[in-house]
Symmetry: C2
Subunit: 463 residues, 2 copies
């Protein structure tokens, strides 16, 4: 039994960042973690998947493009096991990095399952710890299957990202259920490593939360690479065997039978709100199952805050981290800037990458906004041509009257980095004129951002 100013339940990117900021502000902090520090993000999410995606990039480069660039290779052997090992090393290195940060900031790490006890207390095993100021719930999410149609995760033939990240070899055939960011990234990875991939999405297009133009660009790119993308598709039944799975999938009015070695479930995640003692402690959930929070992320229980995935969408590591910072500052008596939830960037790290911020064009239509679209295709960008990465575009949607940036959508080899000038611009309410005013270096992909801004003003130069 120990006493801290702040106890955080969950050592993911929301929780550990919250603890660090609390420590910086002079508070004593503890993080309760039942598994590895860094949570899903560091161990079975963002980080290892990006390492595998780079392996996929290298595989495609060597197999398809290297020769054009003057690099001729003999036989190419793809070894998913090696790629996986590299990815595990990176994940472990990052988890150790979080451990180091905890020590450096004198944060106590308590291993085990944390349960909330009324009165700002957290029970871990037989010990109950007290928080003088606040308890922060940051328990995140976990993978889930769809038992209703027989696709319960069995970790062998029906797997989740948790298992996919540890495979010793790529399956020969793979169906991925769900074409959001996770499903799309794994389709990219396993296709590059030789699997015949079928990507199945219930909604009418892949990457359904992205702009329709982004979805279309990636669907086109995936089809070119031989990935089967089935949209508006319903898995009607699944027969799970020891060596494979047979799916009955209805799409476009036709029903087809898909036989695969493995099925990867990527259709949403389950919230970790069970066995946390929430109800007893007076922490209420909303209708969708998220913890009910006010604008300052306070729950319905006094002195209990909630951040990250369990506090509501978007379920993104960087949104959780920012909530962690803000909550730590609130607990320390500061008045942090309110989080602009409408300005959280979203990235899918397939090739080319998809990055976005703000509204999609469809959302602008639904909201009946008076908007103008500026768009520049990478086929006209010198840097993209130099590296043979001309798939993609930059699309900026601006308010017709005031020039405000309503949304921005980028498909490009380095979209994940390019989106940030628009994130900064949008956060500070600059217009497209102010984005263009900054001279963009030549030759860069980011010049396409300036050109899209100019296009929305009717004065694009290079197309």
């Amino acid at each position: 039994m120990a006493t801290f100013d702040v106890i955080v339940i969950g050592g993911g990117p929301g929780g550990y960042v919250c603890a660090i900021r609390a420590a910086q502000l002079g508070l004593t902090a503890a993080v309760v973690e039942r598994d590895k520090l860094g949570g899903v993000c560091v161990n079975v999410g963002c980080i290892p998947s990006k390492a595998l995606l780079h392996s996929a990039y290298v595989a495609n480069l060597v197999n398809h493009d290297a020769k054009d660039f003057g690099v001729e290779v003999g036989g190419v052997t793809l070894n998913f096991g090696t790629a996986m090992k590299h990815s595990r090393q990176v994940a472990d290195q990052n988890s150790k990095g979080v451990e180091f940060l905890m020590k450096k900031n004198k944060i106590t790490v308590i291993k085990g399952e944390g349960t909330l006890v009324p009165g700002r207390k957290v029970k871990v095993g037989t010990e109950t710890h007290s928080a003088t100021k606040a308890v922060v719930i940051a328990t995140g999410t976990r993978v889930k299957g769809i038992p209703q149609i027989g696709l319960e995760i069995n970790k062998t033939t029906v797997i989740s990202s948790d298992e996919a990240l540890f495979l010793e070899q790529a399956p020969k055939t793979l169906a991925i259920v769900g074409a959001g960011a996770v499903g799309t990234e794994f389709a990219d990875i396993f296709n590059a490593f030789g699997a015949k991939v079928t990507l199945i999405e219930a909604l009418p297009r892949m990457l359904p939360v992205e702009d329709a133009d982004s979805s279309a660009a990636i669907a086109r790119s995936f089809k070119k690479r031989g990935i089967d993308v089935l949209v508006g598709a319903k898995v009607k039944s699944a027969t799970v065997g020891n060596a494979g799975v047979t799916l009955e999938v209805e799409s476009g009015g036709k029903t087809q039978i898909i036989e695969v070695e493995k099925v990867l479930m990527a259709a949403g995640r389950a919230l970790n709100t069970q066995n946390l003692g929430l109800e007893a402690a007076g922490v209420q959930l909303d209708q969708r199952g998220f913890v009910k929070v006010g604008p300052d992320l306070r729950t319905t229980a006094d002195g209990v805050y909630c951040i990250g995935d369990v506090a509501g969408p978007p379920m993104l590591a960087h949104k959780g981290s920012r909530e962690g910072l803000v909550v730590a500052e609130t607990i320390a008596g500061k008045k942090p800037h309110a989080i602009r939830y409408d300005n959280v960037p979203s990235v899918t790290y397939c090739h080319p990458e998809v990055a976005s911020i703000g509204l999609t064009e469809d959302q602008c239509k639904e909201k009946k906004l008076d908007y103008v679209v500026g768009k520049f295709a990478l086929t006209a960008n010198g840097r993209a041509r130099a590296t043979n990465e001309t798939e993609g575009f930059v699309k900026i949607i601006k308010d017709k009257k005031y020039g405000e940036i309503l949304g921005a959508h980028i498909v490009a080899s380095h979209a994940s980095e390019m989106i940030h000038e628009l994130a900064v611009a949008r956060e500070n309410e600059y217009t497209v004129e102010e984005v263009d005013l900054a001279i963009h270096a030549h030759p860069t992909l980011s010049e396409a951002v300036a050109e899209a801004a100019l296009d929305s003003l009717g004065r694009m130069i290079h197309a």
Copy 2:
């Protein structure tokens, strides 16, 4: 003999962009070009060099890193001729792109050498054309040797970038004189293609206009790759033969003899101000040889403007293009925003890339500014770890009192894209707080920008 509203002499990135903007604003425009449209940048500069740098990246990836990522290759053969051909294709495609833009915007292209004739006239061959509104000088620069020490460009053993971009094979041994952006980029390229490269810089460090930390990071990286970097080095004599060159180089108090197959001259460029009829037309030069211009880029002759390299430093394509836009708007009677010459980004596209904006730390010291440095090393960045590209850092120098961004320096695999959020922020006079306020996507290299901003505020999270 024809009459236009505007005649631009020089079809490089300053000139052709000026003509397009003039045409957009309803003016008739002509561009006089003696060689290929797009100028040095498109044909023998920025664009083909970036294609070769990508070849170098691919070569190093395949030779060194691919295996770690699970991509094993048999024998690797590097073919510089193929890389060169790809690079030429990209350059030609971009030059044709400029041709297309000229047609689309109904701009007349006049092939030949343009000479200024008093009274807003330009003579090309036997024809003299008139401009009702303005003549714009955009003639740029050309390569130069150092004849004083016997290093006159002979195009075989003593070459410039003009020839280096057309080599059928990489030399076995190469000395590069000048370690600015051009010399550094070619060192990267030819090292990757197997040449033993010696990079010779007269000033005390390579990339002398960049921040000292950037120079040190690249010098370290180059040494690791076996590139000999000699700084504070003076070429005392050169013996040029048919099959090679012998250089006597003094550096660090020692004189050494360097025998190489070729010498690549990359120590500055010569201004194209000769045979232009400038004096007769009343266009004066300044003491350094640049065309004398006022803040709106007017020369000393009525109705004659000057943009790009000949109008003064920095000699960068994007600075010339912006001047082209601004001059076209001025000619059309608009009042464009003044160019902030202190906010022109600079990029060297070696691996990792170097990008910067604003003041270096040494410049801040010279100016006796009260500053704080925020710095974040990529060794602690998850995305950099995932791709094994942890060389580098983000460094932000902020004014101690007001938080204004005085300068920013990035060494990273995609520094060229990352610099733009700081370009936009700095152009619009936002502080480090406002950069951090924008949530950065995880995991991206750009998170290091946010961390450097936080570090300058004393509250870095991930290190």
